[in-house]
């Protein structure tokens, strides 16, 4: 990787294990991810591959007591999140990083008004700006501005609405408003359009894109839709079974996918130009309780070589800024 300057988030060799009956689920097996300032990054992978676990580790919201991080570091602006004190993590969550969840219905509290919820976010992010008590008039002004920014009609009335009175698209806009109401450096959007209709998803995606461009925020977009990744991001990371298998600038990745998993994934997508449906990738995700000792994709891979089952491949730069974790491409 070239440009060492302006690196906002740098996850290095992250391993996360969950405690279950029968041992440990070794979910993440060496995740490497880097986000620079003002960069739009997509994290693509199927359900169960560890995307949400990775994001939860950044914000330290993994369930307490049930998990272990045997190895790895998460550097945010040079500081290791895993070694931060509670106060520093609080600051991280309220000032630096914001998360937008997949299902807006469960992300909003149905017993509080929208105004209360956005007001809370503003209040807590301001507290850490050394402004002890933010005047509630100012909170109201900021809330209305945030709602206007996400193109919600009649923001004044929206403040007294409850979440169940809103449609899915509106709820997701409220969640985005909560994420951008105070300036952040990094947004993490976990499949923000998945539970919405396709026309509404289109609007939401364009809205997010607009923000990121205007405010120069970085964004990690988690998705299992490659189409969304292609249209909205600069760089894509492809994840499989807890490891990053390929990463490249988005244009490059789609023009020249190298890893067998990436190729299989792209081929499985039906095209509106026709052509039928490809066969998909045979097999399924490996068991995390007893994962393969070598490359985790090896049981499903069509090609093979003896070293594939011995130890997991590391990310290797095959061309400028394009890294792949596969022994067969390292020749």
């Amino acid at each position: 990787m070239q440009t060492k300057e302006n690196i906002l988030l740098n996850i290095k060799d992250l391993h996360v294990w969950y405690r279950v009956y029968g041992g440990y689920l070794k979910v993440l097996n060496g995740v490497h991810l880097m986000v620079r300032g003002s960069e739009r990054v997509a994290l693509v992978g199927e359900t169960g591959c560890g995307k949400t676990t990775t994001m939860k580790s950044i914000l330290q919201v993994l369930p307490p007591g049930d998990f272990q991080i045997p190895r790895g570091q998460i550097f945010y602006k040079g500081q290791d999140v895993l070694k931060m004190s509670f106060k520093e993590i609080q600051r991280l969550r309220s000032r630096e990083i914001a998360m937008i969840f997949q299902d807006p219905t469960t992300a909003l509290n149905p017993v509080f008004t929208i105004g209360t919820q956005i007001g809370d976010v503003i209040k807590y992010s301001a507290v850490f700006k050394d402004e002890e008590n933010v005047h509630h008039e100012r909170i109201k002004t900021l809330s209305i501005k945030a709602l206007k920014d996400v193109s919600l009609p009649d923001p004044e009335r929206m403040l007294i609405n409850y979440s169940f009175q809103l449609s899915g698209g509106m709820k997701q806009r409220v969640c985005i408003a909560m994420a951008i109401c105070s300036p952040r450096n990094l947004l993490i959007a976990d499949e923000p359009g998945t539970s919405l209709d396709v026309t509404i998803q289109d609007q939401i995606m364009r809205l997010l894109n607009g923000f990121v461009e205007k405010r120069k925020t970085s964004i990690i977009l988690i998705t299992h839709s490659l189409g969304v990744a292609k249209e909205m991001t600069d760089r894509t990371y492809v994840m499989y079974a807890g490891t990053i298998v390929e990463t490249a600038p988005t244009e490059v990745l789609f023009k020249n996918p190298v890893h067998p998993y990436t190729k299989g994934l792209i081929a499985s997508i039906p095209k509106i130009s026709g052509g039928g449906i490809a066969k998909g990738i045979p097999g399924k995700l490996p068991s995390y309780l007893d994962p393969p000792s070598g490359c985790r994709f090896q049981p499903r891979c069509e090609q093979e070589s003896p070293i594939c089952s011995e130890k997991p491949p590391q990310l290797f730069e095959i061309e400028k800024d394009h890294l792949v974790a596969c022994y067969l491409t390292q020749r």
Binding site: V198, I272, S273
Partner: protein, 338 residues
């Protein structure tokens, strides 16, 4: 009353399903989920029914399979009128029409093992002895490429894609002729989706099945369906052969849908209509606007659109649209033939 022709397995005429949800000053309030739908499906074809939330596509399927009784209109299956709730239908129609639901997690009983789940349709429709039951279940599982040890697993210990395979196996257990698929892969990842869709296509050829495939995923429809119908707020806006749809989409809503699909290749990008951007929220089926139900979001709105509900217009054989823009075409055609 038109009769179904011989090669149509299912014919729906002027189907309406309203749900009564209360009253106000003007009278009872209804959710007009399905508001006058005409459809026909030929033997062996796959008809795609596309729409977003509130379009009524799932309600159409649920009414066909018998979950709801139609408010008005009729459903003809193999020529016979079955416009009743499932409890009043003969057992033979329950055997012939099966449905696969969207969320595999809730369509399989989490407290049952798979052998119990598959045994139910076999016992009711095939009346088998216990020994034959086990063999038949293993055969069904093998058709879905699942190993026999799945028999004793419970749905909570298998993945979403496999659960959906079990749901499909259950639907096929009674040897149906028509299978309704309500967004069978919407909750699944694209690689799992590819596997399941391929399996469905193979099974269709092998068992001579007819599919009514409901989804909101247009790119999937393009590759799976023979004909596609688009629904908006309870009515069909456009219906045509799959290829025609993407080469020449006529209805503004169709164009809006296609332009919202995220695509990967240049080829697909060129296929998308250029300037249609989706605007506005989808109105609720309780408050359907007067006139054309789509006019508030339409970029081609004319003055007549907010007053009069458009009729169905046959633009070319097999291609119908419900839109005032094409009424002129129809009038011109009539003028020429006079």
């Amino acid at each position: 009353m038109k009769q179904a022709t011989n090669n149509e397995i299912l014919k729906i005429e002027k189907l309406k399903k309203y749900f009564h949800i209360g009253k106000d000053k003007k009278g009872p309030i209804y959710v007009r989920a399905v508001d006058g739908v005409d459809l026909n499906i030929k033997y062996g074809e796959t008809l795609g029914l596309v729409g977003e939330s509130g379009s009524g596509k799932s309600t159409v399927a649920f009414t066909i399979v018998g979950m709801y009784r139609p408010t008005s209109g009729q459903i003809l299956f193999k020529g016979k009128n079955i416009s009743l709730e499932a409890s009043k239908r003969p057992l033979s129609s329950k055997k012939e029409i099966q449905i696969v639901f969207q969320d595999p997690g809730s369509s399989l009983n989490p407290r049952q093992a798979i052998n119990q789940i598959l045994a139910l349709p076999l016992r009711i429709h095939a009346q088998m002895l216990k020994r034959q039951l086990r063999e038949k279940m293993i055969e069904l599982l093998e058709k879905m490429e699942l190993s026999p040890d799945y028999l004793y697993k419970s749905p909570s210990s298998i993945g979403g894609g496999e659960k959906q395979m079990v749901a499909i196996a259950r639907a096929l257990a009674s040897n149906p002729s028509l299978v309704l698929l309500d967004e069978p892969t919407s909750a699944l990842d694209v690689s799992v989706q590819a596997k399941i869709i391929n399996k469905l296509i193979d099974l269709q050829k092998e068992l001579h099945l007819t599919y009514l495939f409901i989804t909101h995923d247009l790119s999937l429809m393009r590759n799976v369906a023979n004909r596609i119908a688009i629904m908006y707020l309870g009515k069909i806006c456009e219906m045509a052969e799959a290829v025609t749809f993407f080469e020449k989409p006529l209805h503004p809503y169709t164009q809006m849908l296609i332009s919202s699909v995220p695509v990967i290749t240049e080829e697909e990008k060129n296929l998308k209509p250029k300037k249609i951007i989706s605007i506005g929220e989808i109105p609720s089926p309780v408050n359907i606007p007067l006139g054309c139900s789509f006019h508030q979001r339409c970029s081609y709105k004319m003055s007549i659109c907010s007053k009069v509900d458009p009729e169905i217009i046959k633009v070319s054989p097999g291609h119908i649209v419900r839109c005032h823009l094409f009424a002129k075409l129809e009038n011109k055609k009539q003028e020429r033939s006079d």
